[in-house]
């Protein structure tokens, strides 16, 4: 139960709860219905579309010479006039999702104008798509039934005209993007055995509302916790407390966020159960507490506290019990993060002069320095298997860039290269991408980038936005 709200903020908090509960309900509602009735008759030279049987061998669409297969994703065909914009939304969002992962060579959508538009899966002009160079075609139909969006999907091998994957989807009409994300994840799973990120979310801090901080005369503006879809759509404000909030950290189930919330007297770790509108205090009345990091099993929070006179790493249960101090060095130990298994914790410490990255067991034993050749390193983030890398903020000249170190070979690779200052990296749950803060546009914004340093994507544009966390779901 939130405390200390005026009636105005309580009603706006109630509105957010309603909105977020609706979103959560929509997530639960995305129902898969059975495969569509197979349609006989076809494009040239193929044996016809086939409904996907549960135990059928997966046919992977490939291309000659080891190059990536070329994918075309036109607008989904609206079977009713009220689904016309849904058709183009689905096509564009799905195209963007597939393009983001860079598993397929995406054919630009502005080259599809010459292809006759098929009204059904039986009418797909495969020879025209072959002429365009497509190896794979995503064909979909969409219609509205009340407040439900109903999509039928085929993934065609253009050469053979065969459907290698087909599925029907129902989802809330209020969120067609979510349906497209679901399809993108299904295609990556079916064709590549890859877990996709299209349905994951980012949390970050934003000052875009420019509201004055409560209870101070200095000209300060609140910084609030926001969430967004991984591609920057559907940005929602989470906190309404008109105070300073910092460093959100997703719970592994994607239903809660831990962050630092400042009150008049102290900085404390709180957990917001964002789809229920519940706020619980984790630390209370014991010094200042910053930089929370959820454990992979969701039961504990690692954080930095200055209660004993300098920055030290502590672990606490999410209900506020079981406080354990892990570091005891008089230098500042900051920025804890967990290994994917939860057996180890990485952190930054200036115990040798400038901040460097260290790792230790989750009980505080076995402290080992990780960065040996950096002038300064902070904010480690530990990627999941199969990559086993640690990304961090590294000083490069006057400012910062993102670097990563291979945990096995200890080889360091630079990810960003001095366009603005680049800080606070967070790995995606798949380890194939990083989110980070960059000043390259003149203000602080959230960017995504591949683990190979390619595929840069700007996610926020309004106000100043910083310190992202990437959800697992």
């Amino acid at each position: 139960m939130r405390r200390g709200h005026t009636p105005a903020t309580r009603s706006s908090a109630a509105a957010w709860r309603t909105a977020l509960t609706t979103v959560a309900g929509c997530l639960a509602l995305a129902v898969l219905h059975g495969p569509p009735v197979p349609v006989l008759g076809l494009g040239a030279g193929a044996a016809g579309q086939q409904a996907q049987q549960p135990d059928e061998i997966v046919v992977e669409i490939t291309a000659d010479g080891g190059r990536q297969p070329r994918y075309a994703v036109p607008d989904f065909v609206a079977l009713s006039p009220d689904a016309a914009t849904d058709g183009s939304t689905l096509g564009q969002v799905l195209w963007d999702d597939l393009e983001f992962e860079r598993e397929f060579d995406m054919i630009p959508r502005d080259t599809y104008a010459s292809i006759p538009v098929a009204r059904s899966a039986a009418q797909v002009p495969f020879s025209a798509w072959r002429e365009l160079g497509a190896d794979a075609l995503v064909f979909g139909t969409v219609q509205r039934a009340g407040d439900v969006l109903r999509v039928d999907l085929w993934l065609f091998d253009v050469r053979s005209g065969r459907s290698v994957f087909t599925q029907g989807y129902d989802g809330p009409a209020t969120n067609p993007r979510r349906l497209a994300h679901t399809i993108a994840d299904a295609i990556h799973d079916q064709q590549r055995g890859l877990r996709g990120v299209a349905r994951t979310k980012l949390a970050f801090i934003s000052d875009r509302n420019r509201e004055a901080l409560v209870g101070t005369v200095e000209k300060r503006e609140v910084k609030e916790v926001y969430i967004a879809d991984y591609d920057g759509a559907n940005q929602h404000r989470i906190t309404v407390t008109r105070t300073l909030n910092l460093n959100p950290s997703w719970a592994p189930d994607g239903l809660a966020l831990a962050y630092t919330s400042y009150s008049a007297s102290s900085a404390d770790i709180v957990i917001s159960r964002i789809y229920e509108g519940l706020l619980q205090r984790v630390t209370r009345g014991a010094g200042n507490n910053y930089l929370p990091a959820y454990s992979p099993d969701g039961t504990r929070i690692a954080f930095m506290s200055t209660r004993d006179g300098n920055g030290e790493i502590y672990v606490i249960n999410v209900d506020g019990t079981g406080l354990r101090r892990l570091t005891t060095h008089p230098a500042d130990d900051v920025s804890p993060t967990w290994s994917p298994s939860g057996a180890q914790i990485a952190f930054a410490s200036d115990r040798t002069g400038r901040p460097q990255i260290y790792i230790m067991n989750a009980d505080g034993t076995g402290v080992e320095r990780l960065t040996l050749n950096e002038s300064e390193a902070d904010r480690p983030t530990w990627s999941p298997a199969p990559y086993n890398e640690m990304a961090f903020t590294a000083r490069t000249g006057s400012w910062y860039d993102i670097k990563k170190i291979d945990m096995a070979t200890r080889q360091v690779t630079q990810i960003t290269f001095s366009q603005g200052s680049n800080e606070s990296p967070a790995f995606s749950p798949t380890g194939r991408h990083l989110a980070f803060t960059s000043t390259r546009t003149g203000s602080k914004q959230i960017f995504l980038i591949g683990r190979d340093g390619r595929g840069l994507k700007q996610v926020t544009r309004q106000g100043n936005n910083q310190t992202p966390s990437w959800s697992s779901h």
Partner: protein
């Protein structure tokens, strides 16, 4: 503002001197002067007393004289600072910030002088409680600067306590580089932002 304060101080001193002079003629010399008496035409209840009578009284006439209340409103402290709201106090703060070198939480001589003066102010106003905010310039990482800011605030608190300020009157907090006082990107701005900033939180 300072001239006005001096005028106020002088005016009060003169008034008190006159009153003290009057008091000394009538009472023992060490007694504090009595408060100034109100003119006799106005009773403390605010209206004229009614004579005991069975006939309905005539409605009171509008008073011919106006009462001008010259009683001072706000007590003035020895150094002329009126008691104001916390927001007013912090807006025109009697405390100065202590500044720091890059990456450092050490108090140099000028910083110690500032903190010492702030300690004197806290002793003169023995009910004041303060929060010391630690701030950093933009050149460290966002995360490390939270720790550095707190170290700056703690260094100032430690020095205050060594000068005799009770520790429960002083809180510390760090804002890292989140709230720069100068949004510029040069050394002049950065020097302004590496500070321990005093905020009065109770008085």
């Amino acid at each position: 503002m300072r001239i006005l304060t001096v005028v106020r101080v002088v005016a009060v001193v003169l008034i008190l001197a006159v009153i003290a002079g009057c008091a000394r003629r009538q009472t023992a010399p060490r007694e504090a002067p009595p408060p100034p008496e109100l003119p006799p035409s106005v009773s403390r209840a605010g209206g004229p007393e009614l004579p005991p009578s069975s006939t309905p009284p005539a409605p009171p006439a509008r008073p011919a004289e106006r009462v001008i209340d010259t009683r001072p409103v706000a007590p003035v402290g020895e150094d002329g600072i009126e008691l104001r709201t916390l927001d007013d106090l912090n807006r025109d703060s009697p405390f100065s910030p202590a500044f720091f070198a890059l990456d450092s939480a050490e108090l140099d001589a000028p910083a110690r002088a500032v903190v010492s003066a702030n300690a004197d102010m806290m002793k003169r106003n023995g009910t004041w409680a303060v929060t010391i905010e630690g701030h950093c310039d933009e050149r460290g990482t966002a995360e490390y600067n939270l720790a550095l800011g707190e170290r700056r605030a703690l260094a100032v608190k430690t020095y205050l306590v060594s000068l005799g300020i009770p520790p429960d009157r002083v809180r510390t907090i760090s804002y890292g580089k989140e709230f720069p006082f100068d949004p510029g990107h040069d050394e002049a701005a950065w020097a302004q932002n590496r500070r321990a900033h005093f905020v009065i939180t109770a008085k």
